[in-house]
């Protein structure tokens, strides 16, 4: 076989192979500087105090066609909690609440994804304060496009509620609400296909 014919044959076979294989999920690395994890908790039933975690990292794989291929992992640095009051932050980091020196991270590990009318529902386990509990999080794809440097990105938002007592944080339940509403919006930088 002459070189040109061999090359053409190789090209054709690659195209046929690519067409027959399902598309691989998009692999993304979470951009911490464009990711926000905000939480709100009731104070004496009078108001809500809001805070955020300043350091978040993680990875996810997203497949529009096959939710079974989706995979999400998010790791939050519990020590980066910030409620705009250093004494309160210190208390939140102490053994009374997050105990960040013993349990330095809050982790979400996805176990499955389902498609719904409004978006997708993410099932997974949240590990916080040394306890792991299953959660279901409705996830909405906000958009997809190039970032400031031209790198392709995609972003999501989700809102859900956790009960801190489920994670062994029962200190001051009553004065400080048990239900903690969490809003997380994250942006992932799409990794080039291998």
């Amino acid at each position: 076989m002459r070189p040109f014919t061999r090359s053409m044959a190789l090209l054709c076979s690659s195209v046929v192979l690519a067409a027959s294989c399902p598309a691989a999920p998009i692999q993304c690395t979470i951009d911490g500087s464009h990711t926000s994890v905000i939480f709100g908790v009731s104070h004496l039933g009078l108001s809500y105090t809001y805070g955020r975690f300043n350091k978040v990292q993680g990875k996810f794989a997203f497949d529009r066609d096959d939710p079974a291929n989706c995979q999400f992992t998010v790791i939050i640095d519990a020590d980066s909690v910030d409620t705009n009051h250093s004494k309160r932050d210190q208390h939140l980091k102490s053994a009374d609440f997050f105990n960040t020196r013993q349990f330095p991270s809050i982790e979400f590990q996805g176990t499955g994804v389902e498609k719904t009318a409004n978006g997708i529902t993410l099932n997974g386990n949240v590990t916080m304060h040394g306890e792991t509990k299953p959660v279901t999080i409705p996830l909405q794809l906000l958009g997809e496009g190039p970032g400031p440097g031209g790198d392709p990105r995609m972003g999501f938002i989700c809102k859900f509620v956790l009960k801190r007592s489920d994670f062994g944080m029962t200190n001051m339940v009553g004065a400080i609400g048990d239900e903690v509403s969490v809003m997380m919006s994250f942006e992932g930088v799409i990794e080039p296909a291998q």
Partner: protein
């Protein structure tokens, strides 16, 4: 904020248990009666607190009393069998310590075997308390970790050699009063050092001293066997380690409290009878002074931090709130006024060639995007533009 139920449990349960154990041991007059009574009182208070906290939380969340108490019992059983937090291991260490205190040397064959068992417990305590924490997993190298753990264990074991007996040179009630003062100081210092839970554990320790001493002293004479204090030292050191490594207890305050404990308990065997009496009082005075000094340092730090927080322009102070409610201004006005003042001050300083507020006090960096705040975090909220420039 300690609720009344927690306070009742953490004071009454240790006091009643300590008195009960002391009453049970009064006829045998063993050398470990005092520390056994106080330590078991503390363990009972600690377990009662776990049960109460979980049950009360469940009741507040709308669960009926009986299921809530059941849930509390389950949590209590979990905390004993599989402690998840460092503080959960302290009652187990204390129980083991009291067991070693109770064992006569002949049980383990030789006195040396008993000492080795104590050494093992002294090294195991800091290791178990720090196991899985950021110190052993991230912050320290293997060498640093080994150094810390061996050092802490060794200091604890050597300290045990210093206090084989209760001091006899001073009236016994004076010693009890100083020890109570010391434990109360520990509790209050821990409370002011960022952890309510550890402070409550300290209160539980202080609560058992007087009842145990009252029962024991009414049934013993000064000629009885001197009392051992090793488990009490183990418990005291464990609380200091928890406060230092998992709360904000400073190294200075930790050292002051530790030395204070040693001074209040150690004997001075070489002194003559007259000077012994005088020295006995002197060291108790010094021990009390050091404990109060630690308490004062913690209080000053707390007040200073709170004052700095009040200076935060985003915090609406009580005075400003009063102004707002009295009709002079509104909360919004107070908020805007504070921000306006900060901005005016900033402009004035810049006009005089001085660095602005943000440059001078990193804490105010909240006003600017892309600056680092006082804790070194990158400010990314607000406009949504991060440090990378969005």
């Amino acid at each position: 904020m300690i609720d009344i139920g927690e306070l009742a449990i953490v004071v009454l349960l240790p006091a009643a248990t300590a008195a009960g154990v002391a009453w049970w041991l009064r006829r045998f007059r063993p050398s470990f009666a005092a520390e056994l009574a106080i330590c078991w009182g503390w363990v009972a208070g600690n377990l009662g607190l776990v049960w109460h906290t979980e049950s009360a939380a469940q009741v507040r969340l709308g669960t009926d009393w009986l299921p809530a108490l059941g849930r509390g019992l389950r949590e209590l059983s979990n905390s004993v069998t599989t402690p998840s937090e460092a503080r959960g291991w302290l009652p187990l260490a204390v129980a083991l310590g009291t067991l070693l205190s109770c064992l006569p040397a002949s049980t383990l064959g030789k006195q040396r075997a008993l000492e080795l068992a104590w050494l093992g417990l002294c090294v195991a305590l800091p290791w178990r308390l720090l196991y899985g924490s950021v110190y052993l997993t991230r912050d320290w190298t293997h060498f640093e970790a080994s150094l810390w753990l061996a050092g802490l264990g060794l200091v604890l074991w050597l300290s045990m050699w210093l206090l084989p007996k209760f001091a006899r040179q001073v009236p016994r009630w004076t010693g009890v009063c100083v020890m109570t003062l010391l434990f109360v100081s520990l509790a209050m210092t821990l409370l002011m050092s960022g952890s309510k839970v550890y402070g409550i554990l300290g209160i539980g320790l202080a609560a058992g001293v007087f009842p145990a001493a009252a029962v024991l002293m009414s049934h013993t004479s000064p000629d009885d066997h001197p009392q051992t204090l090793r488990t009490l030292l183990l418990l005291f050191s464990g609380l200091i380690m928890l406060g230092y490594f998992f709360a904000e207890l400073t190294a200075v305050n930790a050292l002051l409290l530790y030395v204070s404990f040693l001074l209040s308990a150690v004997t001075w065997p070489d002194a003559t009878k007259t000077s012994t009496y005088r020295w006995g009082y002197l060291r108790l005075w010094v021990a009390s002074g050091l404990a109060i000094l630690a308490l004062g340092c913690a209080a000053i730090t707390l007040v200073r931090t709170m004052a700095e927080e009040a200076d935060n322009p985003y915090t609406i102070s009580a005075a400003r709130m009063n102004l707002a409610s009295s009709g002079i201004g509104s909360i919004t006005c107070g908020w805007n006024e504070a921000i306006g003042q900060a901005a005016r001050r900033d402009r004035r300083q810049r006009a005089h060639g001085l660095p602005g507020i943000v440059d001078q006090q990193g804490r105010r960096g909240h006003q600017c995007h892309g600056y680092e705040d006082h804790r070194g975090h990158e400010q990314v909220a607000g406009s949504g533009r991060g440090a990378k420039g969005g």
